[in-house]
């Protein structure tokens, strides 16, 4: 991995990827044939590393990864950015939420290859110069977490929730923060935190 200027080019070939996706565990019966076909040409083997450049927290990161690697696993296993958490790997819990081009996205359901050329912001990229982002500070002030495992996802989601204009009322915040499960159930404190941080974030 190294910091490189952004590149839109990649060795990734969409047709090879489709073969690879089918060759994974999703459809095992048809998959076997597809995978064997793919293996005829090693260039299309999904398990062969593919070069990709991800722009994460303002820096370009060049990686050589399995084509099936998700943004979440790329961050955690390859870039050592472990703030984003794996809670279900199915897009059901929100613990892996990151911003991609300022939209909140469950990184476990987003392939790293598909995020090339886009701006990925993770919890590690939120604080500036050791000063907490207003949403992070609001989570501290309002005790908006207990075990802390869902917290990075909650905070990324909360930042987007405010920017989307969905923090106008407590009911709105509750609704638009409902993609992020907190098993410790800090929900009322999360609502209070989003309410506190919203004006400052909207001010810029």
């Amino acid at each position: 991995m190294s910091d490189q200027p952004s590149s839109k080019q990649s060795a990734f070939d969409r047709r090879a990827f489709m073969a690879g996706a089918a060759g994974s565990a999703l459809v095992p019966i048809t998959a076997r044939a597809a995978a064997e076909d793919a293996r005829v040409s090693t260039a299309q083997d999904p398990s062969l590393p593919v070069d990709v450049t991800l722009r994460v927290n303002g820096k370009d990161k060049r990686l050589s990864i399995d084509a099936r690697t998700t943004v979440l696993d790329a961050l955690r296993e390859h870039l050592k950015l472990t703030g984003s958490k794996k809670g279900c790997d199915h897009g059901q819990c929100g613990a892996c939420t990151v911003l991609i081009d300022d939209r909140r996205v469950v990184s476990c359901l987003t392939l790293a290859l598909a995020a090339e050329g886009q701006e990925i912001t993770t919890i590690e990229g939120l604080a500036t110069d050791d000063r907490l982002h207003p949403m992070q500070q609001a989570f501290v002030d309002n005790d908006a977490f207990q075990c802390g495992y869902c917290t990075p996802g909650q905070i990324m989601s909360a930042v987007a929730c405010v920017k989307e204009g969905h923090a106008g009322s407590e009911a709105d915040i509750r609704e638009y923060m409902s993609g992020n499960i907190c098993r410790c159930a800090a929900y009322p404190n999360i609502v209070a935190a989003v309410k506190q941080a919203a004006p400052e974030i909207m001010k810029g």
Partner: protein, 762 residues
Amino acid sequence: MTAAAPEPKTNMGQPVPRYDAAAKVTGRATYASDMPLDNPAHAFLVTSAIARGRIDNFDLDDAKRVRGVIDIVTHENAPKLKESKLFSNGGYAGTTIQPLKSADIAHDGQIIAVVIAESYEAAREAANRVKVRYTATTPSATFDSPGTTTAAAKGQNAQFKEDPGVGDFAKAFGAAEVKLTAAYDTPTQHHNPMELFSTSCVWMGDNLVIYEGSQFVYGLKNGVAEQLGIDADKVRVVNPYVGGGFGSRGSMTPRTAIIAGIAKRLNRPIKLVPTRDQGFTITTYRAETRHEIKLGANRDGKLLALRHEGAEVSSRADAYCVGGTKTTARLYACPNVASLVSIVRADRNTPGFMRSPPEVPYLFALESAMDELAVKLNMDPIELRRINDTTVEPIGGKPYTSRSLMACFDEAAKAFGWAQRSPQPKSMSDGDWLIGYGCAATCYPTQMAPSAARVRLQRDGRTRVEIAGHEIGTGAYTVIAQTAAERLGVPLEKVAVFMGDSDLPPAPVAGGSNSTASTCSAVMMVCDQIRQRLFKAVMPDSLTDKAKETVGISQAPATQAAKSDRPLDIEKAFDALGVGVVEEYGEWKPEGAPLDSFRAMHSGQVRLVGGHTMKDQIAYAFGAEFVEVRINRFTHEIRCPRLVGAFAGGRIMNPRTARSQLMGGLIWGMSSALLEATEIDERNARYVNDNLADYLVPVNADVPAVEVILLSEQDDHINPAGVKGLGELANVGTNAAICNAIHHATGQRIRKLPVRLENIEV
């Protein structure tokens, strides 16, 4: 003060922000699977598709062809592991079903193979290509399934020693003016902490480091060492942060020793991140329960007879049960009590503790029945509790160390607006919504266990506290730091706390709400050892003896301890001692702890003391919970717009973390009453909804206004910290409070959880 940081009342600490707050909001808090490993191989589990039978053979050819596969481990080539007994029988394990030991299958989702590969993606693909041929036998799934066996818990579960009873229940019930007999059911539930059940194992020569979220690092360390047949000193468990416990990480699961064994064989770090659905079967869960309650009372509401019969499902291999009659038999003044707990064995994974193990199912039954009795008596349910309130438990005649149950009812009732309730069912509504108010008592035993701690104080006041406690979200770092700061008279920001590492002095399991009471009592004691050394150094000899008397446990903070006109000057004391650091280690045990307590503590065995097992007293925390439900008269949609709880738990170390924990508990209770159930396919004894989309837990939009009232309570009989424990208290009464409110709204009594809209017949 904000809502999150309530103003402390008498006998409460300061609501300081969490010690670990900055780490948790920046992503710097490292959980098990976040730990950096040098060139790890990735493990992916293959689990059984049948619940009972045998594996005939594996076809691994296809799986082995996947590029990057290093090894596939099955019962045919698995590392040999020694057995560990169930934790309740002197072992460490949450189940004695040991996967990969033979071709036998004891439950659905049992680990049958582990694929090791260079990448997570390759391991997953290969795992999906493992083909298994089974000979399946029809499994028994749950209550009423053919092939289950039922027997009394007493005699088969070492921790369930007796079915509590007193007087002559049959006679008293027969003669009672008002009688109630009712049956209640609670469902299977899974903890589903947000952190997956990840395990990484790294060997350095003969030494093993395990990164795994655990509620008991000493238990896990000793258990894995036992299974591997190595010295426990060679095993270290590290987890500075745990992504939720709720009981799921209290005892050792088979996965850890398996991964450790494979890592040793391959001579490479192994990282396992199981999937969410695998978590439903590779760890424990709350088993389904059934209850029958019989209550007999006078017309004036005085209880004369109480019988509680409970049945719980367990695995074929292990006689696990929670046995909550120990609490329900003692909660109210009642001269004639009988009880019986049975265990039903089925082809299931072994159940285990889940937040508020005995009280959640058993108090649902009793507190629902109390409400039914109040209705029969045409009496306010709060008054029925008041009439039967007691300072002495009826079974052994022991006094409660303190009991603020009715004070909690009164405070919560006031805050809730109970006086506005019109008592008749179906008498309150708002447009299309039927409104119901309900309440219930909540309680949890006060428990303590032996704990050690090491504290180091520097001349400049910097303090380091070391204790192998666990931060599972409770605020353990925070309250331990507060305890040390207060006891040593140093600023809070100078205190560093190190936990979640089995190389630190032993602490008990973070379960049964014993952690704060145990660890803070130990830290207080060790801080006092430091104070004593410092005082001795600066005091004239004539005063030293006096210091010995006054500078003990439960004294005022160090700065005032000697004499108000002689505050301890730490720098002067250090100069007099001629040292740069004062460090003390100590081992604390609660009164009445067994003789082998400290030995057991070091070998990862828990010796809990408290609740009804104390010699001359009984210790419980109490609370009262009030809910408003709204049920749409056409769609039957159930909403719970308000939850109010008042709680008394002895000393409150930090009102901020206490409120959060109790708030989370109330929401857990609401979730348990209205959302959570693991559905079982009874034909195949399999869990159906084993994911976070189908196993319903509350999201933000489900959660109403929650109000937590902390009562001031002082109890000098329980432990030096004066703490009763809060983690399990808040979600005990909520199930009944909600069903009681549903009855008030609709006139319909629901005795089976969870309550869903299809269960409402308005």
